[in-house]
Amino acid sequence: MSNIAATPAKTLPEHHYLNATYGIRSWLLTVDHKRIALLYLASVTLFFFIGGFFAMMIRLHLLTPSGYLLSADTYNRMFTMHGVAMIFFFLIPSIPAVLGNFFIPLMIGAKDLAFPRINLLSWYVYVVGALFTLYSMISGGLDTGWTFYTPLSTVYSNSAVAPAVIGVFITGFSSILTGLNFLVTIHTMRAPGMTWFRLPLFVWAHYATSIVMILGTPVVAITLALAGMERLFGLGFFNPAMGGDPILFQHLFWFYSHPAVYIMILPAMGVISELIATFARKQLFGYHFVAAASLAIAVIGFLVWAHHMFVTGQSTYAALAFSFLTFLVAIPSAVKVFNWAATLYGGSISFDTPMLYAFGFLGLFLIGGLTGLFLGCLGTDIHIHDTYFVVAHFHYIMVGGAIMGYLGGLHFWWPKMTGRMYPEWLARIAALILFVGFNLTFFPQFLLGYLGMPRRYHVYPPEFQVYNVMSTAGASILAIGYLLPMIYLTWAAFYGKVAGENPWPATGLEWKTPSPPPTENFPVTPVVTWEPYDFHHRPDLGLDPVSTHEIMPAHGDD
């Protein structure tokens, strides 16, 4: 059943960006943003596996209360490297560097980003930083927590802190260069007619993300540089024995690391806007509010960092201010959730895999976001700070939110990137497995945290074992939920059903190019005359009141 006029069997275009040139040099020296996106895809997936390995070690160890698997020291290294790998090398680059790189030029009607060579440079910088961090992991890893608190990290730790600090420092520049590229591209390279308020919300989300990358990342860079110099050369800013202040490190560190979580979630929110509009076949409700909310999150997100430091002895008045601002930053996120829900209302909803991920996002981000409020509230935070409640909270947002957005986006745009569709039913089952596995892993952790199980401890009171076992069982199911897409997406890239230009159909400019697109994206610069997410007035896509008597749900090719 199809609501588009019958077309002949689809074939791949003869020339596209994947077969334009051959050989490893054409990939390693490419300046094509689409190829660079795939280079990033490979790198971040590798680090996802590495981070996942450390996660499995943690969960296996926590099956028993007395911790038979790992020593205390080794356990510290496991959770540290899980955090470092996942945050700096998977989550922060993932959507911007893969989907953003690939689709921002296509969505705005440009031939490439503003600075293609800087784009390639950003990938190499990522790789160099990754190599330093891998070296740290191989030479015993580090045990300081991904937060590198001093003076443990700078003075007392007997682990490979310096290479990891250098690695994360270097990779930060990859983030900065990506953000710079996106900001300039969105400002100067939009096609004629692509005004700011015709931009897809995915682009708005990345604009806001880029602001955070530009303003925040340099601060963690200097912080890590100072910490590294303290470790290597004995400088004393963060060492109390020399008159330094560990709290200064925490302020400087969190000034970036809180906005960093918005770097991780804003792009995912951008993906969700695209998915919900497309699979509800409806204009996104409150487009302007959602765009403004992205910017508001980016700005207010810089004002809340010390909510990570409520128990450090900061002044009550400072804590009050940060708590208030933390509640404030929840508002634009809520605005977005309400707008997505309003988009669903009265829409023509279909349950394709990307939409399943979007639904997953809505529920899980909601839980993650609401539990953040308990943490932002001073009284309750005293009890749940540094417990598994925090761990559950941020995993609901980063995994239930950001990774669902990433996977939803990968599935949605896979036909455009590869020219071929993934297997729909297998994908839906995988999404379901992922959802079940995720909740089984992390919901018990809310209970554990509330009951008092501290985080970063290699042992726990025996009465917590049931929930820990549930969590580990869930993690195994979650792992399957991740492995399945990795396998079938790879398979589909080569053997999937040819997708054609616009299998959903969706309304973005990227869907008006062949699948896969040619290297230059648009042989002729498009001129944009339509509003975004307009499913009723796009005759060029077969979507207008005349040719369709009844709006049918979107679907991939049957």
């Binding site: 503003a114 530009i214 200097i222």
Partner: protein, 245 residues
């Protein structure tokens, strides 16, 4: 590979290309502000908390050399602006001259910095095991470059400071960590700047910059001016505050 001066494929007009390059450089400079800002914050906080030690630290810096370097950098910003102007009005012969002047002034800055840094090494003012803020006062023969009346003033100042802060040496070491950290970072940025200037020099000698297309001169100029402004912050912060002279 693209050659300097051509319209790159992703752009539609030279105007768009120039606008993008300019915006890109400004955004990069914003990241630099955040980068230096972090260490300046650490410095400012520590200065406030360890007032006597940091005052003692400031007094060991040579006001003459610092002021000279400030004039050198300001002059180099002027010659850089002249290079940009020359490229804008099409005076192709002047561009390499002004660039060379800027580079030379940059090297003068490095020379003075080298003198200052080696002084610090000799006076045991580099953070580490041998750090000793009292070194010159206790061993005047090892510090021949400091005049006896200066040494006397310094001795008085240090005694006062030590009375106010028994851990003076430790906290003075923090001052020097900041000093080397900030001036070192700044010097590193200047080295990169000189490298960029040399690249510009090569291209200007080949006559590449015209009034229609002088973007690299423009954006390297922006970078150089930024590096200059950082020094304008560093000089008062490190050299001028709390001098008792």
């Amino acid at each position: 590979m693209h050659r300097t001066g051509e319209l790159y494929g992703q752009f539609k007009t030279l105007e768009q290309q120039k606008e993008s390059a300019s915006l890109g450089m400004w955004i990069f400079l914003i990241t630099e502000v955040m980068f230096f800002g972090g260490i300046m914050l650490a410095y400012a906080l520590n200065r406030h908390v360890y007032f006597p030690a940091f005052a003692a630290g400031s007094n060991t810096l040579s006001l003459k050399l610092g002021a000279f370097n400030t004039v050198v950098l300001l002059a180099s910003s002027f010659t850089m602006a002249m290079a940009v102007w020359s490229s804008q009005v099409g005076k192709k012969n002047l561009i390499p001259i002004f660039l060379l002047l800027t580079i030379t002034l940059g090297f003068v800055f490095f020379g003075v910095k080298y003198v200052e840094y080696s002084q610090k090494f000799e006076h045991h003012l580099v953070p580490g095991k041998k750090f000793d803020i009292f070194f010159c006062v206790n061993n005047p023969s090892s510090c021949p470059d400091v005049a006896p009346d200066e040494l006397q003033e310094e001795s008085k100042l240090l005694d006062e400071a030590k009375a106010a802060d028994p851990d003076l040496n430790s906290h003075a070491q923090l001052y020097y960590s900041a000093y080397f950290g900030m001036t070192g970072l700044h010097a590193l940025h200047m080295v990169i700047g000189v490298g960029l200037l040399l690249w510009l020099l090569k291209n200007s000698l080949a006559g590449k910059f015209t009034p229609q297309w002088n973007t690299p001169v423009d954006i390297v100029g922006l970078y150089w001016h930024f590096v200059d402004i950082v020094w304008i912050y560093l000089f008062p912060l490190l050299y001028l505050i709390d001098r008792h002279k």
